[in-house]
């Protein structure tokens, strides 16, 4: 749920980020810079971990469009987080093909291991998880992905999930 009325930290886009925006916008014809909205929101999310209302306002300003044009897009597409998330968001496919090979059990295992419900963040701020719809990897299920690179982890078992979580914990420490 998008809340634009809450007081949220203002954000600043770094020059490096802005130059990435510039490169994206150069792909479209003159005056069609709005086409860059989806890729730019991905960049914002990669930078800040989620897409806050002030960040969306900034994007609107950059693209010379109205803030509502950004809000309606950010709320329509499922990949944009409108709330702060864990550093690593485990997104597990929960659609038919993966369920046939045990996706539901994998989600139960993740819930138990992390000790938080779907959509919640672990107390250390490292993890959150959620079920997502078909990730187009049905032959290699169960699968999960982790942004912002959207690396894929296929043929999951409870053991491989445990290993993944401990690897990520170790990675976060370093």
């Amino acid at each position: 749920m998008l809340r634009v009325d809450e007081a949220q930290e203002p954000v600043e886009f770094s020059p490096a980020l802005i130059s990435k925006f510039d490169e994206i916008v150069s792909r479209y014809p003159q005056g069609k810079q709005k086409s860059g909205l989806l890729p730019i929101l991905h960049l914002v999310q990669a930078e800040f971990g989620w897409v806050s209302a002030p960040a969306m306002d900034k994007v609107a300003e950059y693209l010379s469009i109205l803030p509502i044009e950004v809000y309606e897009v950010a709320t329509f597409y499922t990949m944009y987080f409108l709330r702060p998330q864990g550093k690593y968001v485990l997104e597990v496919c929960r659609t038919s093909g993966c369920c046939l090979v045990g996706a539901e059990k994998i989600m139960d295992h993740i819930e138990e291991t992390l000790g938080v419900k779907e959509g919640e963040v672990t107390p250390d701020g490292l993890f959150s998880w959620r079920g997502v719809e078909c990730l187009a990897a049905c032959g290699f299920g169960p699968v999960l992905q982790i942004g912002p690179e959207y690396t894929f982890y296929e043929n999951l078992t409870n053991e491989s999930v445990d290993k993944l979580i401990s690897d990520l914990k170790a990675k976060a420490k370093n």
């Binding site: 069609k32 709005k34 597409y77 046939l100």
Partner: protein, 452 residues
């Protein structure tokens, strides 16, 4: 062993790089097309090939191309549809991951044929790794003079860009994809006007699936007539099938259209049979949207002929006893699968993915999900099955885009073919929450029941 036109070199080490791809005959079609053929001649070859859209609808690609309006002084666009979100389908991800230059080669030839100087490859947002792979491949091709200004000295200019979406199944529908590419919500447009007249930025546009564009490469290399010799009847050429579910060897297979379904499931060349020594219960042959069929009907048509992997054979019997080839997303269900739970899973998917523009789809998909949920969790009523069919009929055909139909068909077909399993969930509600219905009379593929 069937012919491989797309995946022939997929196992060559380094085939994802320009040099190795080129050494295997890659980009020959670009040289042939740009140097020796007119755009009209290319369109003609694609028409002759009989290539049908590989994204699911199966509309002839050459015909789609010939509809493209060509007003003077107006830009034309080719947009590649890599949204691949249909549950059961993962062939495009596979192709782009392992042999990205094939898609780029097809994009260059197709863009030239259509007179496009800027083309976009739209990928679903979750395919960020593939965005990076394709962008690297595009940079390589550009450095070698196959993209950019004055390609191979022919005077033809083409810029190719990769655009990620934001995670929405609906963007696989071509007009929703164009909206998304314009930076908007993925709400499908009312047609007409068709994209061929007014598509991206209001300009004439062709939207083609990844696999369709890749197939243009062998069509130009070998000629449309040669391509049309492969396959059966109006199902020409080869098709990538994404095989998943309870199969011994799930994965992406390139088949010559016309392979018997039984051979595809059980032969060692393809899926190698059902995993864990189980028996086959049902199959979704072309992605979650197409009707689900019990084992007996997927292996044989109602006239007791062997069913083939082709557009015509799979749809033999209409929706009463047939299904569709769709996008080639082949999901096999073994005896342990619960059809009610699976149907609920699909209904939830479509409810989640409905864009909300048309009331029948926005509301109907939610109702179907709720009713199926209560059936699965032991609170169903005997009247629910008729209610579901009724709701599905009221969605079907009453929406702007085919998502409504796609949501209606799996529910209606599951009840058509597996009604007794649904009824058992009502009459044996508590038992249904603890065990599955099993195979019952649904034919074992190896001992096909007499009753069809």
């Amino acid at each position: 062993m069937g012919r491989k036109l797309l995946l022939e070199h997929i196992n060559v080490p380094g085939i994802n790089t320009f040099d190795v791809y080129r050494s295997k005959g890659g980009y020959a079609s670009v040289e042939k097309a740009l140097k020796t053929m007119s755009p009209e001649a290319i369109v003609e070859e694609v028409k002759k090939s009989g290539l049908r859209g590989r994204g699911g609808a199966g509309f002839p690609t050459g015909m789609k191309w010939s509809f493209l309006a060509k007003p003077e002084g107006v830009a034309r666009y080719l947009v590649c549809n890599g949204d691949e979100s249909e549950p059961g389908t993962f062939k495009d991800r596979y192709l782009m991951t392992y042999i990205p230059h094939l898609l780029i080669e097809g994009m260059i030839v197709s863009s030239f044929a259509l007179g496009a100087n800027t083309s976009y490859i739209y990928l679903r947002g979750e395919m960020m790794p593939q965005v990076r792979i394709l962008e690297k491949a595009i940079a390589e091709a550009k450095a070698k003079g196959f993209l950019g200004k004055n390609i191979l000295g022919t005077g033809y200019d083409l810029e190719l860009y990769v655009q990620p979406g934001g995670g929405a199944y609906i963007c696989g529908e071509e007009t929703a994809l164009l909206e998304s590419l314009e930076g908007k919500r993925g709400n499908p447009r009312i047609k007409p006007p068709f994209p061929a007249i007014a598509g991206l930025y209001g300009c004439p546009t062709v939207v083609n699936n990844v696999e369709s564009i890749a197939a243009v490469v062998p069509i130009i290399n070998e000629g449309g007539d040669e391509y049309a010799k492969i396959g059966i009847g109006r199902s020409t050429g080869t098709k990538l099938i994404s095989a998943g579910g309870n199969l011994k060897k799930p994965g992406v297979y390139e088949i010559e259209l016309g392979v018997p379904v039984e051979e595809f499931i059980y032969s060692d060349e393809y899926c190698g049979g059902i995993a864990n020594g189980k028996r086959l219960k049902a199959v979704v042959a072309g992605g979650s949207s197409v009707p689900i069929l019990p084992a007996n009907l997927i292996l044989k048509t109602i006239n007791n002929e062997a069913r083939l992997m082709s557009y015509e054979s799979l749809s033999d019997g209409g929706f009463v006893s047939g299904t569709m080839l769709g996008s080639g997303g082949f999901i096999a269900y073994d005896e342990d699968a619960c059809i009610v739970r699976n149907t609920w899973n699909f209904a939830r998917f479509y409810h989640h993915e409905s864009c909300g523009q048309c009331s029948p789809c926005r509301e109907g998909t939610g109702w179907m999900e709720k009713v199926l949920h209560r059936l699965e969790y032991g609170h169903g009523k005997m009247s629910d099955m008729d209610l579901l069919v009724d709701v599905s009929k009221k969605i079907e055909g009453n929406t702007i885009c085919p998502l409504g139909d796609a949501a209606a068909w799996p529910v209606a077909s599951a009840i058509r073919h597996f009604r007794d399993e649904f009824e058992w969930h009502v009459t044996n509600a508590s038992e249904a929450t603890s065990r599955n219905y099993g195979l019952a009379h649904y034919a074992d593929p190896l001992k096909v029941a007499e009753t069809a």
